[in-house]
Structures are given as C-alpha cells and as structure tokens.
C-alpha cells in the first residue's frame, strides 16, 4: 500500500469486495481486483500529473475515510424534487446507494432496460461484461480505478435498436453524510448502452443537505450507429463535498452525444468528460457552465478524440467566479492521423467577479491529420464596463445591471441545451446561484 492509500479509500478491499453484488463471477472479481491494484499503485493524482496541474487533491488525500460503501443512512429525510417532466422515471440514490423506496421507475416500455447496477449484474451479466471497464479504460486514471475497485452501485440503461426514450430519465443523487468524523466516499458506476438508432435523454441531479463526502462517479456510454444521447447534469452538491465525475463516451458512426454540466456546488468539483468519435460522421456537443464562490474549486477537463473521419465536435463553456473561488478549464481536441474532414471547435470564457478569484485555462489542440478545421478560444476578464454603463444610463440600478449581464453571459452556454424544459430549469438554477450571492 502506498501512503496515499493509508487514508482508507481502499481499506479492507479484498474482504469487502467478496460481499459486493456479483462477487464470485470471474469477470467482475477480476475487474474489481484490477481496479484496486491499479489504484494502490497510483494513489490519488497529485499536481505533478500534468492533467491535475491546477487541481490539488492533497487535502482529500489527507482525509480519513470510513470503510467503503457501507449503507450510510441520510441524517434526515431526503428532499427529493419532483421529476422535471411530470411522472417521468426517476432513480434516487441516497449517499451513493440506490433507494427503491424513493425511486419511481415505473414499468419500462418494450426495448428499454433501466435497472440499478446491482440488479443489472444479476439480470444481464453478458451486457455488463462486454461494456464495463471497456469504454472507460483504467489506464493511468487512478480515480476510475478506485471507482472500479468498488463497483457495486449505480445505474444501467440499455435501449434496443431504434427505441426512443422520450421523457428524460432522471438520476437523483442525494448526499447527506454529515461532516464530522471519518468522511464517506462513494463510487457510483453507470452504464448507458444505446443500440443502433436508439435515442434517450438522461438528467442527473447531484444535490443534498450536508456533506463532507467524496463522490467519485464513473459513467460509461456507448452509442451505436446513429444512436443519440442527451446528457444533462446539475451539480449542486452540499457545502464541503468533493465531487469528481468521470464520463467516457464512445460514439459509433453517425451517433451523437450532447452534454451539459451546470456546476455550482461542492467545495471541489471536477467534471472530466472524454468523448471518442469512433465512427465516421459522429458528432459531439459538449458544453457547460461553472460558477464558484467562497473557496470553491470547479474544474472542467474534456478530451474530444476525433478517431474517425468526418466527425464534428463543439464545446462551449462559460464560467463565473466570485470571492476566492477558482475555475479550471482544460479542454483537449485530438485529431488522429486518418480522421480527415474533422471539425472541432471549443470556447471557454470566464468572468472574474472578485479580486481574489482565479481562472486557469489550458485549451489544447493536438492534430495529426491535415484536412481539418479546428479552433479554440479562451478569454478571461470582468463584466463589460461599456455594457454596464449603458444599462445604468437606461436607469437600471448597478446590481441589477450586473445581474442581467451575468445571466446573459451564462445563457450563451445554457442556450446550447436542446431540451427545452431542461434548458429552462438550468437557467433558473443559474439565476438562483447569482441571486444567492446578492448580485
């Protein structure tokens, strides 16, 4: 065991893993053991790892964690919001565990399998075996390895050929772990598999009451030919939670993936999204807005890998940072050797509202094919003085004018959401964040 693991993140793995769902099945034992072995070797990433240059996990590494994955009950009754679309399917997780009482999945229509991971392990082991750990390669990524070591809870969605899930499937994560004593860590693991021509909308809400917890989720998404997924995530974790979400997406020919992350909660949040455009003509639209105050750190790290010809990708991110908060944006576009006719664009714009806020951006282009159109742009600055003055000259008080400008700025990203109801809801969340700060 390396020192970074003395914090209990892997404590008693061998013994505890034997009691996890599916234990005894060779492939799942091997997967968990491999994850544990790799994490033991790597530990939590330090700032010496280039991808973690700007985000420091040393405080997390110094914490003491309770043994993993015990069913920690919520301190008080969870407040689960109604589904965004009336009577829509909703799966609720409390402190990382699926809660059948609070969930309302209804009867899944023909061709749709929507199950908590533990059940899926029992019911559809073949599908799981062929996808789990294949989309998100363990490689050097220690957090994916850690998640895999404890792979037990999460959600599985499978859509058969040409099946369309019209209402958004909601996953609600309620965190209420308290913040005294040992910290809780949980590692939800999700798998979304869309067969050719299928389409779905997935909405995640990460909310809660109190939390010194460390949520380390991994989502694997495989979209076959012509399939499409819209994936929206609201990250509004309580106060001192650490939220790290890794999403790995593999797109076949003509498949499409739209993603939006609104990141406003947690003391430290990192959304890492990797999309591999594996088939010709696949497309990805990966967007988000991040907002920070207090001493929050909000990190967005993306990798769009154009591995096949004729694919398009676009990324639009906006950030607003107040107080001593810090925003990190690392966005990489790779175009492989034979991925001709690639079109990849990325934009990250951040506004600093306070003298002590900070933004660190590292947009990156790595291009090995010539017939491409790729670009990135990044800006950092404060609200436009001219616009502010213009609004005030029209009689709008300064703080309202600032509010208008902040909303308009964020809206440039939120406007990319193609699901109208989600778009409106996210807009409200962004405005609420702004109003909480008194602007």
């Amino acid at each position: 065991m390396t020192t970074s693991n003395d914090n209990g993140l892997l404590a008693d793995h061998t013994a505890l893993a034997a009691g996890l769902p599916g234990a005894g099945a060779g492939w799942i034992d091997a997967l968990r053991a491999d994850g544990a072995k790799r994490f033991a070797g790597l530990g939590l990433p330090t700032r010496k790892v280039e991808e973690w240059k700007y985000t420091d996990l040393s405080a997390l590494a110094r914490s003491r964690f309770a043994p993993c994955c015990g069913a920690a009950p919520a301190h008080a009754k969870p407040e689960i919001p109604a589904p965004l679309v009336k009577d829509g399917p909703q799966a609720v997780f409390v402190n990382g565990r699926f809660d059948p009482e609070l969930s309302s999945l209804g009867g899944a229509p023909e061709g749709i399998t929507a199950l908590p991971l533990a059940e899926a392990i029992a019911q559809m082991p073949k599908l799981l075996e062929s996808y789990m750990g294949r989309v998100a390669e363990l490689g050097r990524k220690s957090l994916v390895a850690l998640n895999t070591a404890w792979l037990a809870d999460g959600f599985v969605l499978h859509l058969a050929k040409d099946v369309r899930l019209t209402r958004p499937l909601e996953l609600v994560f309620w965190g209420d772990s308290g913040s005294d004593g040992e910290r809780s860590a949980w590692h939800p693991r999700h798998l979304i598999v869309l067969d050719p021509g299928a389409s779905a909308t997935l909405l995640e809400r990460h909310i809660g009451r109190t939390g010194g917890h460390f949520a380390n989720s991994v989502t694997e998404i495989a979209a076959a030919t012509g399939a499409s997924l819209r994936h929206y995530r609201l990250q509004d974790e309580p106060g001192d939670a650490v939220h790290i979400a890794t999403t790995e997406v593999a797109l076949s020919a003509g498949a499409s993936y739209e993603s939006f992350v609104l990141s406003k909660g947690a003391v430290l949040a990192r959304n890492q999204i990797a999309v591999t455009l594996q088939g010709e003509g696949a497309s990805a639209s990966v967007n988000g807005a991040y907002m920070g105050r207090g001493s929050q750190i909000t990190d967005t790290t993306t990798l769009i890998d154009h591995a096949a010809p004729g694919c398009t990708s676009s990324q639009t991110y906006k950030g607003v940072l107040d107080d001593r908060s810090r925003g990190v944006f690392q966005g990489r576009i790779v175009v492989r050797k034979d991925a001709q006719k690639s079109d990849g664009h990325q934009s990250n714009k951040a506004i600093l509202l306070s003298d002590r806020a900070e933004i660190d951006a590292k947009p990156e282009l790595e291009i090995y094919a010539d017939d491409v159109k790729c670009s990135h742009g990044a800006t950092a600055g404060e609200l436009d003085d001219n616009a502010l003055f213009y609004l005030r000259a029209r009689g709008i008080p300064e703080h309202e004018a600032r509010g208008l400008l902040i909303d308009a700025f964020i809206d440039g990203a939120i406007g990319t959401i193609t699901h109208e109801t989600v778009r409106d809801a996210f807009r409200d969340h962004a405005e609420a964040w702004r109003q909480e700060g008194g602007t």
Binding site: Q340, S354, E366
Partner: protein, 486 residues
Amino acid sequence: MAIAQATIDSVGEATDKYKYGFVTEIEMDRAPRGLTEETVRFISAKKEEPEWLLEWRLKAFRHWLTMKEPTWARVGYPPIDYQDSYYYSAPKSDADRPKSLDEVDPKLLETYEKLGISLKEQEVLAGVRNVAIDAVFDSVSVATTFKDRLEKDGVIFCSISEAVKKHPELVKKYIGSVVPYSDNFFATLNSAVFTDGSFCYIPKGVRCPMELSTYFRINASETGQFERTLIIADEGSYVSYLEGCTAPQRDENQLHAAVVELVALDDAEIKYSTVQNWYPGDENGVGGIYNFVTKRGVCEKRAKISWTQVETGSAITWKYPSCILKGDDSVGEFFSIAITNNRQQADTGTKMLHIGKNTRSRIIAKGISAGKSQSTYRGQVRINAMAEGARNYTQCDSLLIGDKCGAHTVPYIESKNRSARVEHEATTSKISDDQLFYCLQRGIPQEDALTLIVNGFCREVLQELPMEFAVEAQKLVGISLEGSVG
C-alpha cells in the same frame, strides 16, 4: 489528389535546399572530450576569467549534476551523452585574437561571405548593410564591426568574453539576473560551459544608431555550442538586435544550448529578432542541430521587449522567448513563425508573466508543418494578482501541408486579476484548396502559389522584422517550400 500530392512533394524537397551546409577547414583548439569540473576550469582559464565568474560557472555545474533533462516538451530524441561531446572549440587563430578585421583568418571571412554576411565595414558603409555585426564561430566571437561608430554614442557591443574583461561591473551585475544559473537543465549547462556570445549595453537615453547583429555558426563537429548573450538597455534607450544562425550539414546531431538575457530598464525598448536556420537534418531525420535555448527578458517600468523569430532550421527546437513584465505599464510581444518539414520537431512558444499594473502583451504565432514533422506551440500567459488592468491577446494559427505531419497548440492561461483581460484564439487548418486553385487559375505555378499563400499566412510576423531581415526571412520561407511540381 494531384494538387495535394504535388504540394507535399514540393515541400518535401525543402531539405535539398539547405544551402548553408558547407564546412570550413580551419585549425581548431579544443577542450578534451567530456564534461567535468576540469572542463569548466579549462574553459574559464582559456578565457582568462576572473575568479567570481569561475565560481559562478562551478556553482552552475554542480547544480546541473543534480538536475534531470526535461521531458515535458513534445519532442523525442535519443538520450544525449553529455560526456561524449566537446565543450570548447575555438579557431586556433583565437590564441592570438585578431586585433582588427584585417587580422581575421581570411577563411573565416570567406565563410561569412558565403553566408551572405559581410564583415567588411567598407561594404557596409557603401550601403550594403547598415548593421553592426558580431560574428560567433563555434562559440567564439571572431569579429565585431562598427565598434568605433558605436562607441561614439557610448554603446558597448562586443563579445561577452571581452565584456567580462572590459566591463566586469556590468556583466557581474546582470549575468544570471534574468535567467539564473539554476533556471533549467539546459540553461544551467550553458551557465557552466558557455564559451562566448554577444554583449551589448545601450546607455541612458540613447537610441542605438544602427541594428546590432550576431551571426552564429557551428562549424566544428561533435561540438556543442553554448553561447550566452546579454543585452542591457538602460533607461529610455532603444536597440534593435538581430540574430542569425547556420550550421554545416553533418550526420551527427549537435547540441546548441544558448542563453539570452535581456534587461530593459525604465522606458527602454529592446527589439530582438532571430532567423534560425541551423541545419535541420536530412529527410530521414539524420543529423541536424538540437536547439535547446532559453531566452528571457525583464521589463522595468514602461519598458518594452519585442521578440520576433523565424524558426526554420534545427532537428529539434525547444525555445520559449519570454517576458517578465515587472514594471507598471511595460509591454511584451512575441511574433513567431515556425516551419517544420521532414522529421523536424519544434516545441516553441513564449511566456508572458504579468506582474506590474497595466502591463500588456501580444502573441502572434504561426506554425507551418509539412512532411513528417511535428510542431507545437506552447505558451503561458500568467496574470498575477497585482497586475491591475493587464491585457493579453494571443493568436496562434497552424497550417498543415500533407497528412503525415502534426500541429499542436498548448497554451496555459492563468489569471488572478479581475480587471485583467486575456484573450486567446487558435486555429488549425490545411492549406486552402480554394486559394491554391485561384492562384493556379491565374497562371501561377504550384510551388510559387504555395510560397505566396504561406508568406501571406505569415505576413503579420514578417512585418515585425527589421528591413535587413525581412527579405532574408521571406526568401527562407520560400526556400523551405521550394521544389518542382510532381
């Protein structure tokens, strides 16, 4: 496909055009092979240096022993055996240094003339070139022109060895002040073993009456070249400095690890331009210079440093001319063209560190990749918390010619000040078929069309070069793209 292929072919011929690849037969005086404290002492003794400088070198050498070669750049090369190289090589005639140009070995003069650089002042006076030149041949300054004219204005322009002897107070004060001896692996190595380089001091309020220029040429084989340049622009002064580099064609790789330090005091301005045309190796990547260079300048109040570079040579380029914008209202600029072809690798860019209030920086980088080459722009813009009102604008454009090369952009943008404004834009695309066809339809042949378009692509940077260099650089762009239509 015919056009695309023809384009690739025409670019592919570029290395055949390395016309500076001749070797000059001159008797050399060398330090024994390898690198030990003794080597450092040998170099220092050869140059009759004062004790403080030897101590400084030794401090650097001892520190260097504790350092690891950096691996973060996107360049790959077999491990360098630092013990299997010569660290000091001077033309024999250096033993009794030429007192004037008339005494310079005629072979050397011939060498420079082959490069199109005349060291003869009368030619310069006749209007061929209004540039004072310090010629550095295998790390040793062999001649500096126009000294008398410059001295009238109090401008000091000489080799750094001479400066150590004649102006020790200036050298002692500023050497290592911008690039400390412990800065990085290559700079530290340079601090231990540098042999020569140019020194220049512009007194208060003086506008240097002519362009100052250094031509560097590596001639001896298996010899690393470690020159060190120090330019000090005193308050309110101005200087434009040009640097040109060539090397002969050789099979083995030669190491070039230079350090350039610029000091721009209050209200001073330094314009530093480079045309780097070291031997790039052949089409299979055999030979060529490893160019690991540390260049940095510090700006005091209202001072300005402007780096312009045209990088077409070297097997590997590792180079990030930077500005420390320390004084309020100071300005840093970086204009760059990097052309790579065949198996060349370039990882180059800049750092702009905004410390003072209302500091401004501008970065324009143009990369052209062809053949099987890899080109990376790597840059950092950092706005410190105190840099109220700082501004940065960065534009990086990459052009790809052929489908076997790569172009990469890795900027680091860090802002800790609300009132600062940072803008970064980057694009990557292939040379436009529409533009090529349009030129062809007007009767312009393939290779000329390519040169025309690429020169257009680079124009913003070419315009920044002083007249004396602009024509040369434009030709160089042409040469690297020249070739017959396949």
